[in-house]
């Protein structure tokens, strides 16, 4: 409303955030938090396996070093950039919410940043000093200790970020006392951490196994031995991952219900929640199968076999993230800001005056019978476009056709009756914020969209139109008194 609206009309704005964030979480969990302890453990095994006058089993060490190289390259390129990418995409799509969160969580993120810098420095030192550390047993053991350090630093980034994630799911706290401490004491915090830690270990192990199959020859003994150890790692973490998942799964609706997240009661949540159960069972069975195969028949394991559970277990995390995102609805910041980026407390004003009047950027501020469709387009952009497109993914035409019948002309009267009440039945939807005229304009626009198949461009291509009631000429006139006061 106060920001130019960036909008991707086919792909959907949320999709952009989701894609970047999921890649980042997978790399963070799988290739930093989980993979580094796995590599450090194997590096240590290399020392244990060394012959009498050797520092380390050289072939073994070279393989582990190569695996670390992949982890190093991916985390410092795609991993780091998608981390920054989350900031970029959220700032584009959801500026009001991220801006608000940053004002409150500045220190949390600043601390996170310090840990993040430490992590990158440590990971670079760990990887880049690998070869030079191999000159003596003393320096090799020091290097391994360093790896353990790095593992802890990576885990701490998770400890902090989970607190921010938990806070966002705890609406009550935003309106009472906004502090990071609430993130840690939040009912969903411990379950999330319990879930994410072993799952990260699991992901690290499975990814490591994939690399082993890629980097070694099929018949080599080294390959069998490393795969076997990898199998033990996966098997060892699976029960913890299962326990964590069940804990989290059970805690989620309780915690969310306590926080009055209305989306939890909805049919859609029930569906997700149900699917999740099977996903947990599936991921566990797959992990055990893979680990069993790796331990009993390591020589028979190949890339094709490992890649399936690897993708599945990475996907496992993705589905949990999706559900976590969903239970926040209809809010983006619980109890404070709806997912359309409008604050709950401003609703009475919008209902009274209409939203167009208060919008900084709109091409219509006074609705007449001539500008209905154009006004509706502005209303749509301001109140629906964060989640819906005109004719692309999750398009507004499609959601109505799903209700009223595909291909049938949409009935304006029914839509006008439905929209102001939709949040009662579809509890994940925020209430419609506009007044009656804006409702009619929106309905006219949706109907127009169905008829024409028109698309809607965002500010990134079409620019903005400044509302003449919200420009600096108006503001200067209106706030002249306050301004002269503040100048003094």
């Amino acid at each position: 409303m106060d920001f130019p609206m960036f909008h991707l009309d086919w792909l959907n704005d949320r999709f952009l955030i989701a894609a970047v964030a999921i890649i980042h979480v997978m790399i963070n969990h799988g290739l930093a938090v989980g993979f580094i302890p796995y590599v450090t453990w194997l590096e240590f095994k290399g020392v244990q396996r060394a012959g009498k006058d050797q520092i380390v089993d050289w072939h073994w060490d070279e393989l582990i070093h190569n695996k670390m190289k992949v982890g190093f390259i991916i985390t410092t390129t795609i991993g780091a950039m998608t981390g920054v990418g989350i900031w970029f995409t959220v700032a584009l799509v959801s500026p009001s919410s991220i801006g608000s969160l940053i004002r409150v969580f500045y220190w949390a993120w600043f601390t996170e940043w310090l840990v993040f810098v430490t992590e990158v420095v440590l990971i670079s030192i760990y990887y880049l000093t690998w070869t030079s550390a191999n000159r003596s047993l003393r320096s090799k053991l020091k290097h391994i200790r360093f790896g353990a350090f790095l593992s802890i630093a990576s885990w701490i980034t998770m400890v902090i970020i989970v607190s921010i994630l938990s806070f966002m799911m705890d609406p009550g706290n935003w309106n009472t006392h906004k502090s990071l401490f609430n993130g840690f004491t939040n009912p969903i915090y411990i379950p999330q951490l319990f879930f994410r830690t072993p799952v990260a270990m699991l992901m690290g192990g499975v990814f490591g196994m994939l690399l082993t199959t890629l980097f070694t020859k099929k018949e080599s003994i080294l390959r069998s031995q490393v795969i076997k150890l990898g199998g033990k790692w996966v098997l060892g973490w699976t029960p913890f991952a299962l326990a964590g998942a069940i804990y989290y799964w059970n805690a989620m609706p309780e915690a969310m219900k306590a926080n009055m997240s209305t989306a939890v009661g909805s049919m859609d949540f029930a569906q997700y929640y149900d699917v999740l159960k099977y996903v947990i069972i599936g991921a566990t069975v797959l992990s055990i199968l893979l680990a069993g195969w790796a331990i009993w028949k390591p020589q028979r394991l190949n890339v094709g076999v490992v890649i399936v559970p690897c993708l599945f277990i990475f996907g496992f995390l993705g589905i949990f993230e999706r559900v976590r995102e969903f239970v926040r609805k209809p809010y983006v910041i619980g109890g404070y800001m709806y997912s359309n980026l409008l604050r709950e407390e401003d609703y009475p004003l919008y209902k009274k005056d209409g939203i167009l009047k208060h919008a900084t950027y709109t091409s219509v501020h006074e609705i007449t019978s001539e500008n209905m469709v154009e006004a509706g387009q502005n209303v749509f952009m301001l109140t629906c476009s964060r989640c819906h497109t005109s004719n692309g993914i999750n398009s507004v035409v499609n959601v109505f056709e799903k209700m009223y019948g595909r291909g049938k002309p949409l009935d304006e009267e029914s839509m006008t009756a439905y929209i102001p009440n939709m949040h009662q039945g579809r509890t994940f939807m925020p209430p419609f914020p506009g007044n009656k005229k804006e409702l009619e304009a929106l309905v006219a626009y949706i109907k127009h969209l169905q008829e024409t198949g028109e698309s809607l461009s965002g500010a990134q291509t079409d620019g903005i139109v400044v509302n003449p009631m919200q420009n600096s000429e108006q503001s200067t006139k209106m706030y002249a008194d306050t301004l002269s006061v503040s100048r003094r």
């Binding site: 700032a91 940053i102 209700m403 029914s414 301004l483």
Partner: protein
């Protein structure tokens, strides 16, 4: 107010987020400027380093020592680039907090380009690794190998234009209404001169870095190179720095001339002139180092060049911040006043809520069914009509099916299943209380 009235009708005054800053403003500004300077130094080492790698590797086609030199710089680029990224997060956080409205608005207006930074930089990073790790493997495919780093350099040269466009655009809300995509924001005055000055700075910083890097006692110059020694390498560093400083001075002057008047005042100007003098001082020392006839004399200049460059960077950072303040403070006053006024309006509306006609009123004339009818209208009427099918079946049908089975209907509303193949499934209404459900059911069963 001295905002031009013609512009005024197209200058937006958005509201700020009505939340306090997490720290006193001066502290945030300090954090912003210092963390940004740290970030930008590594960015310059990354960009300048990759340019020099490309240049040296091409020269290395004739003289192998240049190839070694290129490889040695390439190894520093991949480390510096990691630092550049992580150090960028802190200033990003701070600018988001301090200039929320301005920064996010500029981001959205140049949205596609702004987002493209992520994939572009990722690709460039992967290319620098590919380039570094295939140095030996691709020794017989030198041209192909050179084109890998050339592509990375190309990307590294594009990305700063996007950043500069954004930090420039955020200063001019009066221009926002005229911006149609990234390209139109790129050609605003001052962006390109600043970009050229930035490229000069990349070379300056990288040059002096090369002097330091090759001067370290533990660094085995003799083992690496055939003909180059420490002295020649240091001289090359000063060569690059001198060249970079020259570019900075030329384009620095263009930057000053093309700077939109809005943010200039005497303090800004003083700082800028002072920064300019520092550049000249750095250039003088750097030239002395370059033209020195012995390694000892060359080394004597190192700290002088280093200090004057660091001093310049600090002054430059400070002057940019002052310019930003000066350019925006009136507009920020307006925003603050407006945000406050809006909060008051919102509060008043909250305290005196009016009916906008979308709330359903209870009609007492309906007697016993009044409550149920109102609740039905609010919760059910958007999908169910009395006599016709809308989204779901008509109320008449329900009344028939649940005749005498009030509990059954209540349970269904709470947790519906799916009965009819040609209807969408009904969402549940667990949020309705038992009393509300009774009222609704009473109404439904009364329909004939």
């Amino acid at each position: 107010m001295d905002i031009n009235l013609l512009q005024a009708s197209n200058t937006p005054v958005p509201r700020d987020l009505p939340l306090d800053l997490p720290l006193p403003e001066w502290l945030l500004v300090t954090l912003l400027v210092l963390s940004f300077l740290l970030h930008i130094i590594f960015v310059k080492l990354m960009v300048g380093g990759s340019i020099l790698t490309l240049f040296a590797e091409i020269k290395g086609l004739r003289n192998n020592d240049y190839d070694v030199f290129a490889y040695e710089i390439a190894k520093t680029v991949t480390v510096n680039k990691s630092m550049a990224v992580v150090l960028g997060v802190a200033p990003l956080l701070s600018i988001n907090t301090l200039y929320t409205v301005y920064f996010y608005s500029a981001n959205a207006l140049t949205g596609l380009a702004w987002f493209m930074i992520i994939p572009l930089v990722t690709i460039a990073f992967l290319l620098t690794y590919l380039h570094k790790y295939t140095w030996k493997a691709m020794v017989n495919y030198k041209c192909l190998h050179i084109s890998i780093i050339a592509l990375a350099v190309f990307i590294f040269l594009i990305v700063p234009t996007i950043f500069l466009t954004n930090v420039n655009l955020m200063l001019f809300p009066e221009r926002w209404a005229y911006i149609k995509g990234f390209m139109s924001a790129l050609i605003l005055p001052n962006v390109l001169p600043r970009y050229m000055e930035f490229l000069g700075a990349c070379l300056t910083v990288t040059g002096i870095f090369i002097v330091w890097y090759n001067g370290r006692k533990s660094y085995p110059v003799g083992r690496l190179y055939q003909t180059f020694n420490r002295n020649t390498l240091k001289r090359m560093g000063y060569y690059v720095t001198t060249f970079g400083l020259g570019l900075q001075i030329i384009f620095g002057i263009v930057v000053m001339i093309s700077l939109p008047a809005k943010g200039i005042n005497f303090e800004v100007l003083e700082l800028m002139v002072f920064g300019g003098i520092m550049l000249f001082v750095a250039l003088w020392f750097s030239w002395k180092a370059l033209s020195a006839d012995s390694e000892q004399k060359r080394d004597n200049q190192f700290w002088k060049v280093m200090t004057s460059i660091l001093f310049f960077i600090l002054v430059y950072g400070g002057s940019r911040q002052l310019y930003r303040e000066q350019a925006l403070h009136k507009h920020r006053d307006l925003i603050a006043a407006k945000t406050e006024a809006f909060e008051r309006l919102s509060k008043a509306a909250r305290e005196h809520q009016v009916d906008d006609g979308t709330n359903v009123e209870v009609d007492p004339a309906l007697g016993d069914l009044a409550q149920g009818t109102a609740l039905f209208k609010q919760n059910c009427a958007s999908c169910h009509k009395e006599k016709q099918r809308l989204v779901g079946p008509p109320v008449q049908e329900m009344a028939k099916i649940y005749y005498g089975n009030e509990e059954g209907l209540k349970n269904w509303i709470k947790v519906p299943g799916k009965k009819r193949a040609d209807f969408p499934q009904m969402p549940g209404f667990p949020q309705l209380s038992d009393e509300e459900l009774t009222e609704i059911t009473k109404y439904v069963l009364s329909v004939k």
